[in-house]
């Protein structure tokens, strides 16, 4: 990080190499859009470069900090998307994609696809909490810091997400 503060672009490339995959995975799953995820990851590293001097090791790991930046950028994109949708459809568009015949379509999916589809059905905040704790390997405290929540609020989000997934599985007989 000191090299980054000193303006060393090679250090930035090294950090991108280390954190790129995890950040890309998180943004892709949260946004469900590869192009937007790529934008978010790029912008996250540019912010890292610009704000490197303000990073404090005692306030959390670099990965936590980077995920926090990426998360906020994702939230901006989701908000803009929701505004665009509500402008286009005057608020009548449902939050989740509607499948013509859910049972028929879903029973043909592999388990991995079922899980991905189920995750996409969750509201963004619940999805983010679950992704951070279950797939990105963060502890509850770190995930709460990334999302800007208290630990209690995070646990509540996680519990709601798990409950929703359980119901979804039951509903579709998975």
């Amino acid at each position: 990080m000191q090299r980054l503060v000193a303006g060393d672009q090679a250090a930035l490339a090294q950090l991108i190499h280390t954190h790129f995959s995890a950040l890309h995975r998180y943004a892709t799953r949260l946004l469900d859009n590869a192009g937007e995820a790529e934008d978010v990851v790029q912008e996250s590293f540019i912010r890292l470069w610009e704000q490197a001097a303000s990073w404090r090791a005692d306030k959390g790991g670099l990965s936590t900090w980077l995920h926090g930046i990426a998360h906020n950028l994702c939230v901006d994109k989701l908000r803009r998307r929701r505004e665009a949708v509500s402008l286009d459809a005057e608020g009548e568009t449902p939050d989740f994609p509607q499948l013509a015949d859910p049972g028929h379509v879903l029973e043909k999916l592999e388990i991995a696809e079922q899980v991905e589809l189920a995750l996409r059905q969750l509201p963004a905040r619940q999805r983010a909490a679950l992704l951070l704790c279950y797939y990105q390997g963060f502890s509850g405290e770190e995930a709460a810091e990334i999302l800007g929540l208290s630990l209690d609020a995070l646990e509540s989000l996680l519990a709601r997400a798990r409950r929703a997934l359980k119901q979804w599985r039951k509903h579709h007989d998975f």
Binding site: H17, A112, G140, L158, R169
Partner: protein
Amino acid sequence: MISEQRLHQLLAAYGAEPQRWPAGEREQARALLQNSPAARRAWEQACSLDDWLEQAARPVPPPELERRLINAVNRRVASPWTWLKNWLWGESLPQHLWRPALTLGLPLLLGLGLGGYLWPEFRTWENEAHLEYTAELVEDAYAPLWSEDENLEQGELPEWL
């Protein structure tokens, strides 16, 4: 010792994997799990959802994306001098070949174009047309004089010259 209710909260939020439980409560929760059949039942139920969630595919970024991203970020954060150097010299082997050629060729073409525009007499085809036109004018102007000396031998000059 944490309460059974708290253990249920941990299972409901973090699932069955103790590594996800808050470090400060982990050992106590494990001890309670061994002593409480109700807690063990809740743990087994949590395992089922965990196993299902574990099977999610992990999105893998395209292999060339990292290099593309590094280049894009470097371009955005580069100082003006670095930006100019990269623009002129390029950032990869093929670019090291064509960029300098372009860097040298562009000013040359620009110079030729600008020169041709500012000094049109340098344009050969126009110069030739201009000479032909001048020759015709001279010929027309002196035609009456030439016609008076029609009887002159080839190469002989008229008297007035």
